[in-house]
């Protein structure tokens, strides 16, 4: 076996299947970035496994030239957990959406995150049901008019990042389909983290929810609306003007930088601070606040698969390889 890290190009990760997403779908960009990132992770291709549930995003595995498993609605975390604990050397990537991961599969996602199985979750959030043709999703805003909510949705939406942090996730990130370089960097970071990396990816559905993220992704405004989070860096943003985040009591506050205030007066991002991560997750671009992207939260905690394997190894050390004859003859036996 060669120890040389394999050299791949993006095309090595492109499958020969015709892609069936709608032209203009944000999924194309995400697919392209994932293929590029996988080619650069220095890992043999056969060790990548992409596991998905049901929905537009979940067609993803078919388009990756890796091992892939398109499973059932909402349950990808279960399959991924069973695979990872029995084959911990594999690089497992779960692809899900706002419906798959937070509606039908919310339970499994929460349990995956609390267990901290060492794998990566990409949740494509387009705030709509695409494959079933345009019903509101658990991340759709209140008042959303869709085929199933002609008078507007009355459901309060989930905040995926707050959900993840609340479930005990150890690594929580956000990126956006059209931020190619940022998305690649984010996925690289997800690969590096030991434990479940949860990446929310804002993804535009140009058919049923077009422009859902334009308010902060449009080139004309994005630099004034997006806060790029980096651990240890002051939280500042803006091009036409410079803004920063400060703490006002127990709440975040936006301040304009200028003569009196500079970066040194702003809050420095601490990605190990769960309270801060929760506050940042709550920012949605309203009231002058930015939309944060990047690394919200990252801490180290033992992984589930690591502990799972360790118990098996410990049992073998303590008890030796199982002796079947002894096992069957254990307890009270008698001879006839």
């Amino acid at each position: 076996m060669s120890t040389q890290p394999p050299e791949y190009a993006k095309k090595d990760f492109m499958s020969d299947q015709i892609i069936r997403w709608c032209p203009g779908c944000g999924d194309y960009s995400i697919l392209s970035q994932v293929q590029t990132v996988f080619s650069q992770l220095g890992r043999p291709k056969e060790e990548f496994v992409v596991i998905s549930g049901i929905g537009c995003s979940s067609r993803f595995p078919y388009y990756m030239n890796t091992y892939g498993f398109h499973t059932i609605h909402g349950r990808a975390p279960g399959f991924a957990t069973g695979l990872k604990v029995t084959r911990p050397e594999l690089s497992v990537w779960v692809v899900t959406g706002d419906g798959d991961g937070l509606s039908i599969g919310g339970n499994h996602l929460a349990h995956l995150l609390r267990r901290n199985v060492d794998l990566n979750v990409m949740l494509f959030n387009n705030r709509i049901y695409g494959l079933t043709k345009g019903q509101y999703s658990p991340t759709s805003e209140v008042g959303k008019k869709t085929k199933s909510t002609p008078m507007g949705s009355i459901d309060n939406p989930f905040n995926p990042l707050a959900f993840a942090i609340g479930s005990g996730a150890t690594c929580v990130m956000r990126s956006i389909d059209v931020f190619a370089q940022h998305l690649r960097d984010t996925l690289q970071a997800a690969d590096t983290h030991r434990g479940t990396s949860f990446v929310e990816i804002y993804q535009n559905c140009n058919i049923f929810n077009d422009g859902a993220f334009d308010a902060f992704t449009d080139r004309a405004v994005r630099d004034d609306r997006i806060l790029y989070l980096e651990h240890g860096k002051p939280m500042v943003w803006g091009k036409t003007a410079r803004w920063g985040l400060r703490l006002d009591g127990l709440a975040l506050q936006v301040v304009q930088l200028g003569d009196d205030l500079d970066e040194s007066h702003c809050l420095v991002h601490d990605a190990t601070n769960r309270v801060l991560a929760t506050m940042l997750a709550d920012l949605d671009g309203s009231d002058g606040f930015p939309v944060p992207v990047g690394l919200f939260y990252s801490v180290q905690r033992p992984t589930y698969d690591g502990a799972f394997g360790a118990q098996i190894r410990e049992a073998k050390v303590r008890l030796g390889e199982g002796d079947l004859h002894q096992l069957l003859h254990a307890g009270d036996t008698w001879k006839v």
Partner: protein, 609 residues
Amino acid sequence: MNQADTKNLEQVVIRFAGDSGDGMQVVGSQFTRTSALVGNDLATLPDFPAEIRAPAGTREGVSGFQIQLADHQIFTPGDQADALVALNAAALVTNLGAVRPGGIVIVNTDKFAKLDLDKARLSSNPLEDGTLDGYRVIRAPISTMTKDAVEPLGLKTKEADRCKNFYCLGVVYWLYGRPLDATEAWVRRKFKSPYLEANLAALHAGHAWAETSELFQNHYAIPSASLPSGDYRNITGNMGIALGLAAAAVKSGATVFYGSYPITPASDILHNLAPFKHFGVATFQAEDEIAAVCAAIGASYGGAIGVTGTSGPGLALKAEAVGLALTAELPLVIVDVQRAGPSTGLPTKTEQSDLMQAMYGRNGESPVAVIAASRPNDTFEVALEAVRLSVKYRTPVILLSDGYIANGAEPWTLPDIHAIPRIPIDYAKAEEAETFQPYARDPETLARPWAVPGTPGLEHRIGGLEKQDRTGNVSYDPANHQKMCELRAEKILRMRADIPPTQVHGSADGTLLIGWGSTFGAIRTVTDQLLADGHRIAHVHLRHLNPLPGDLGDVLSRYERVLVPELNLGQLVRLLRDLYLVDARPISKIQGQPFFTSELRARVVAAMA
């Protein structure tokens, strides 16, 4: 000294009943172990409520345990009890109907005060109102005598009272001539001082009281049964399945991954397997039934043997995932320890009503293999068989057990582990990359390659969408869909090659009793009785339910009458009528209880008239 004579019995049925906190299951299992060690054949039936401890003294809180032991081979825990031990008023009135007229009733007279009668919803005292007329009643202040026996040990009143189950055990051990040593050793292992000494004191006091009280006219001996020679142990169905799965890990060299969510009466399989990690068994308690089966499929995808265990309600939840496993064509064993349904039903009571769910309970044309255990002592073999078929044919296999098999116990001849065939695991290899197609098939079994992630050059995608034959690519082609549906159905039928010819017990013509699952004991006993009476009758008991044995149609055609006793409203009988156009008739019982041999016999005789 008691001058009681010793009488030999060929068989005896004993029933213990008390509060669910009284330790009746412990008494039952100790009596079982001891009887097995002295060489009797036996069968047991625990009978307990779903509630952990319903209010003490109420009818709802009564927990029971029945055992039949014999000096010859037996197949059931018996119909009516020859002796009942009742620890309180509620236990007496709820179990007295299970005692034969003239049977022995040992009753704890300390639990018949006004308050006890009220809790048992009794307006008069059954010790005084004639309820017990016609029984041989042994009135024993068991609570008081237990308290006296353990008094020197300084236990609190409540703790002292909890030793009364061992006091009862001592009484019954004397009555049926059982040695105390196995239980003494168990108590020493299980308890710490002062409970160890207290339980032993209660056991010995009960034994001594029975010997000296002169209340018993006789005591009894049940000689050893002449069973086939070999090493034996007692086995419950849930333990047999766990041991079978551990053996499957050893014999295949692959990890057995057991994903499960606690559910009565299947949870003990998870408990039993969890300490078997050093055998290559991995256990996973999932967040729900669905995650449990999905994790098992994920493990199979990674090259392990994925197994999930549940009961009927859980099987319903797993249905969609089982469908995925069958179209992804991955090995998967689903153990369904059936209980009385529908819905939550009677969680601790037995039933055979999931056969149709196992056969058909999925969307689409979704055939899976279905096999069934018939008694505690075949569960080991059946678990191995489920794994073997699942791995060989790369398809889900549903293994049906039930509450009666799961919790019942009987002696099991320990197999020679060297005689258990290896389970070959043939993953697709990197060398096959050039010609690899994920949905190419073995010409004999129709199994597709098991290409596990991590194998260079075999990267491929699978999923729940219909796949093109051979390439496995997503395909909406109409003709391809028909072909794939037919291939999946055909694959199950090909398993007939692995199914031995149908074994017929009894006459070659006349009436055929055909059953599956835990009715084995009752049907076999009735068949033997009627054969002895000169009837032309035979018994076939099916282990393989899908596919059915290839020769079954021929066997059925030889009998003028086919009767199908089942603990449901007629499920196997429908399959037989459907597949063989045979005028099979159901004998149904659906009461959460097994057939009594007497009732089954009466119904068979009526059907033959």
